[in-house]
């Protein structure tokens, strides 16, 4: 019911503001990425801290982290429309923004291929750029319909996620990394738990990954390649013995947006090398 209502409101807004130019605030990097890919960056007047934009847009004010925006900060850039992912917040701030009669539309934040497609469709409808959207959606749809062939079961990929100096985490089921590993036809080395868990030496050894997957930021956070192989227990895993790892840009790997089809091809190539 909620979804129908949402679609209805979405259509209503999309219809009423058709082919109008907005003053957009984008909350959440998946949304910003789609806006940029649709060529609507000239309508942006503000982004959140997690959004990544090319250098020529670096003048855009950042209104805080998308889960913790300040109502006044968002309103201060005088937006006519706010686009956000479902998990933007906090709710009191969003309520206050809506109280100022600025429309705020939320799109799905699902980290899957179909989630990416849905996001592009929703945003393109709102911005009246469905033609451009079709080009973005096609490769994603193709990939969804023609999945990669399943790789040899010995290809077990472990995604290690590190940020700052905290303990590195590994990704279980239902995470973006797990979805990417599955989509390229490989197997996640850790199964049996959901979300992220801290990495322990014994768990690492029993997962026995043959390839380690990291993001570029994550790799830097654990001290580069040397730091990765020095993780306790790593030298007892097949990956540690053969020193096989794949590193990809954070937003490319986990963004689930227009670039995901290319990202999947890159990842698949890197895994099968």
């Amino acid at each position: 019911m909620k979804n129908y209502l949402f679609t209805f409101v979405l259509l209503l807004v999309a219809f009423s503001v058709k082919s109008e130019s907005h003053r957009l605030v984008s909350l959440g990097s998946p949304v910003t990425e789609v806006i940029l890919a649709l060529g609507a960056s000239d309508q942006l007047v503000g982004i959140d801290d997690s959004s990544q934009v090319p250098d020529e847009l670096s003048y855009l004010p950042k209104v805080g982290y998308y889960r913790m925006v300040s109502a006044e900060g968002v309103l201060s850039v005088q937006p006519s429309l706010i686009l956000s992912t479902e998990d933007a917040g906090p709710p009191p701030a969003l309520k206050k923004i809506q109280a100022a009669s600025i429309p705020l539309l939320r799109v799905t934040s699902e980290k899957t291929l179909s989630g990416a497609i849905e996001r592009i469709q929703e945003i393109s409808k709102i911005l009246d750029r469905e033609e451009q959207a079709a080009d973005l959606i096609k490769p994603l749809q193709d990939r969804l319909e023609n999945p990669f062939k399943v790789l040899h079961p010995e290809v077990k990929v472990l995604f290690i996620y590190a940020r700052g100096s905290g303990a590195p985490m590994v990704s279980g089921e239902g995470t973006g990394a797990d979805e990417m590993i599955r989509l390229v036809g490989a197997q996640n080395a850790v199964i049996g738990f959901k979300r992220y868990r801290p990495l322990t030496p014994e768990a690492l050894i029993s997962a026995a990954p043959s390839i380690i997957l990291v993001t570029t930021h994550g790799l830097a956070a654990i001290g580069g390649e040397d730091g990765l192989w020095a993780l306790p227990g790593m030298n007892l895993t097949p990956a540690g013995k053969t020193r096989r790892f794949v590193s990809m840009d954070d937003s490319t790997l986990l963004g689930f947006g227009p670039h995901t089809a290319t990202a999947l091809e890159t990842l698949r190539k890197k895994l099968t090398l």
Binding site: P61, R67, S70, V74, L75, S76, V77, K96, A100, Y196
Partner: protein
């Protein structure tokens, strides 16, 4: 216990205008351009019934006004809570966190954040503040119960119980950090930093109602609190009902602080610094200390919040971080001075 007579009458004369200025500064600064002149015209326009720009209006009325008002009330309540605790423990370094209030509230809030995805009832907007309020008071009540020796409240035992409870809550928090997912972790962290941004006019009004009576009762305790500073035995000989005074101070201050925590999260160090500033400026007698702490707290918190809202425009800093940033050096200074090094 020397209070210089020249200071006494000046409390309201000095602090009330400062409070007024703070409120005006708070109302007129922020990311959104809304100078004092525009505020005046918004007020005039809305009274004369003409159309006000809806964004201007809601920035003023639903964003800044509750923040500034709630900040002033909460600052006063936290400072007065600090006064009660410092008098009760007869220690200038005491604050309600000592009795496990903050850690109990934080633990309850974290639990609600963790469970809200699986228990629909807990995702109600009132669930978190209610849980934090109840959690803070529950831990304090446990500390209180265990330190109650047949009707006599032992302050030393309360201190130790408070430490044990803080450690217990801390370890349970660690457990929650371990199971929580990324989003929940961030929400818990942000909550514990504190923010006045969640206040709205209704909650501010409710808060004001809920603290009027406690403030009044504490004001009536002022003479007894002065006597209590000389020690429990002396106070009893002088005719003060020490046990009921102690119970009253604990109950009332925890009630007020728990209400602040429920609405704004953890805002540390206000309860510690402000009573000291008040003592330095207006002396140790509670007759002056109580109004001075209330007023200085009411000035300090909205002022810090205004800083939070303006230093990283259009984003903002969590207020608990800034009060701790300003408070910690002051705390260290107090400790060092108490050792007689300065």
């Amino acid at each position: 216990m020397t209070t210089s007579a020249i200071h006494k009458p000046h409390i309201w004369w000095i602090l009330a205008p400062l409070l007024g200025i703070t409120i005006l500064v708070g109302l007129s600064s922020g990311a959104y351009p809304l100078p004092l002149s525009r505020i005046v015209s918004i007020v005039l326009e809305s009274f004369s019934g003409s159309d006000v720009n809806p964004v201007d209006y809601s920035v003023l009325v639903s964003i800044r006004l509750p923040r500034v008002l709630f900040g002033a009330l909460a600052g006063g309540a936290l400072a007065l809570g600090g006064v009660c605790m410092q008098t009760l423990f007869r220690n200038p370094l005491a604050d309600p966190g000592l009795m496990g209030l903050s850690s109990g509230a934080a633990l309850a809030a974290a639990t609600v954040t963790l469970l809200s995805s699986s228990v629909p009832l807990l995702s109600h907007p009132l669930a978190l503040p209610l849980a934090a309020f109840a959690g803070g008071l529950t831990i304090t009540a446990i500390v209180y119960r265990i330190s109650n020796y047949g009707g006599r409240l032992r302050i030393d035992s309360m201190l130790l119980m408070g430490i044990a409870m803080n450690a217990l809550c801390g370890s349970l928090m660690g457990l929650i950090f371990l199971i929580a997912d990324d989003a929940q972790l961030r929400n818990i962290t942000f909550w514990s930093f504190g923010s006045l941004g969640r206040a709205n006019l209704a909650s501010t009004f409710f808060f004001a109602l809920a603290i009027v009576l406690p403030v009044g009762i504490i004001w009536r305790f002022r003479e007894a609190m002065n006597v209590l500073l000389m020690g429990e035995a002396d106070a009893a000989t002088l005719g003060v009902n020490v046990e009921s005074l102690k119970r009253g101070l604990i109950g009332l201050s925890c009630w007020m602080v728990a209400l602040v925590v429920a609405q704004a999260g953890l805002i540390g160090f206000v309860g510690l610094i402000i009573p000291h500033m008040a003592r330095l400026m207006f002396g140790v007698s509670h007759k002056h200390l109580i109004p001075a702490s209330l007023l200085i707290g009411a000035i300090f918190l909205p002022l810090v919040d205004t800083l939070c809202r303006t230093v990283v425009i259009p984003s903002e800093l969590p207020i608990g971080m800034l009060t701790a940033l300003l408070g910690s050096p002051f705390f260290i200074f107090l400790l060092v001075r108490q050792k007689g090094l300065i």
